[in-house]
Amino acid sequence: MAGITLRDLTKIYDNNFEAVKSINLEIEDGEFMVLVGPSGCGKTTTLRMIAGLEDISGGELYIGGELMNKVDPRDRNIAMVFQNYALYPYMSVYDNMAFGLKLQKFDKKEIKRRIDEAAKILDISEQLDKKPKALSGGQRQRVALGRAIVRHPQVFLMDEPLSNLDAKLRVQMRAELIKLHEDLQTTFVYVTHDQTEAMTMGSRICVMDLGQIKQVATPEEIYSKPDNLFVAGFIGSPQMNFYKGTLSEEMGAYHLEGENEEYDAFRFSIDISDQESVAPYLNKEIIFGIRPEHLMFTDGEGLRAKIFVIELLGSEVNVHIRVQGDIHTVTTDAGTHFKAGDAVTVVPKPGRIHLFDPETENAIRY
């Protein structure tokens, strides 16, 4: 087992494209770290540099405290699960799992013991004699995991391992992977573009965009205290609603005001505890964000808007409204009596507004 340190890690591909831009990340021993971000943001590249499948263009990579930049992938004691499983088609499941162990010259008994153990964990004991092509997608996924588990590596790397499974199986495998991590207590580095997967699985999440790290934190923190506009928008579903407005102060009371098309300008009050931090933004344009579940309907003053469409999700309802030329979402309990075309008024729940610097797009803590 080992922690991983990325220091100013950079990847410049042969075509001079800088896919990973000097990132710094500390992954602790035994942690379940999820790298998440939109497609093309450099997650796979980062993972492959950790694996040693891709040369490091700049910076340093440490695994278990040792510099790994020039260490052959074979000598890193890392297992990797590929998105397309990459099972050897002409070998049985057993031989697929034994391949790495045989190379390490384990004796037959030990190989069998480890494979039986892994097969039991993954519930594929019945499949050991079959060829990969006789297996279902979920079973192949398990074999790919099994091939990694039997080696008892110090780090597991996984690149979107669930993306080829159907929705139901994916949810099930998610839970199984969390359980597996609990059982093994080994460092997991898990890549996904799916923020739900990241939120449910990671002990910490590293959000990436355009080759850079935007925030590293626990799921709770990422959700409640996003560092910047990108993380705020990327994490959470439905997406956070963003508004343009101005922050003003009147006798110690702070307000956010914004234009609202055909309706009167709206005005939310906001509690500010750190007056210094917001001082530079007073009476200037500012961006603020409110999550759909933190908006509520009111009969009093607030933001007036017309309902665009209503989306029933069973226990919840997503009410989509038109605000400042965008579609915003309000998530509320089932049983609302609204219908499309109705005009409604919404206000944020207290303390649930996120402020962002319109220039740097960084969050303003208040």
Binding site: A51, L53, P73, R74, I78, A79, M80, F82, Q83, N84, Y85, A86, L87, Y88, P89, Y90, F99, G100, L103, Q104, K131, P132, K133, A134, L135, G137, R140, R147, R151, N164
Partner: protein, 274 residues
Amino acid sequence: MNRLKTSTLFKIVMILYLFIILFPFIWVAITSFRPESEIWGSNALDLSEANFTLENYRLVFQTPILNSLKNSLIISGITTIYVTLVASLGAYAIARLDFKFKKLLTVIVLAVSMFPQMIVIGPIYRMFVQLGWTNSYYISLPYSNITLPVATFILITHFAQIPKEMEESATMDGSSKINTFFKIVLPLAAPGIFTAAIIVFIGAWNEFLLSLTLNTNEAWRTATVNISFLRGQFEIFWGQVTAATVIVTIPTLIIVILFQRQIVSGLTSGALKE
């Protein structure tokens, strides 16, 4: 309805095409069982009057055909083995490894196959005489100039089709490059290797010019050359020529029939997501 029509039309065209292609061979086979006197003349095309006989075969076996078949088999076998091996390594390097002048190298490999045989045969002959390699199995070496480029190109496409993850996965499992090549890549490329090997074998088996020039001693003649010697001073023994042709064709026919399945079968199915 439309599909049915096209497929019927397609079948008719294919059968006609097959017939046109196979007819010469079928005629050679038929001719080989007819007496020399019936092969030419007005009755040659009338099979109802034919007196089938094994005489041609009896006569052919009195010539050194068996020895020439043995030579062909050994020379083609050696050629197939080493050319396939060299082509595999070369094609893998071109398909997978990064190195300077890769494109240029690929073009040179292709260019080699474009030199006309008649141009290279002279220098090769001189070389062989000086090395004392005439009338020997060393003839397998220059055979590579016909077969190696083709085999390499067949294999490049096959290696390029193998998912990179398969090899990377092996690397992560602790496998060295060369071990990965033999344990993972070659089995996955087996259909391509069979195809390449068979094409090399057939190419070597049918080779004529090099064999005629370099292995002049009767004891070292290959089968194709041996056929060309089935003639008297003033005539060609067509009956024996056709019988020998049938005999020489049989090994290639057997190989293709035996390995047809391996050539066609998709060994990679089930390896990846579908």
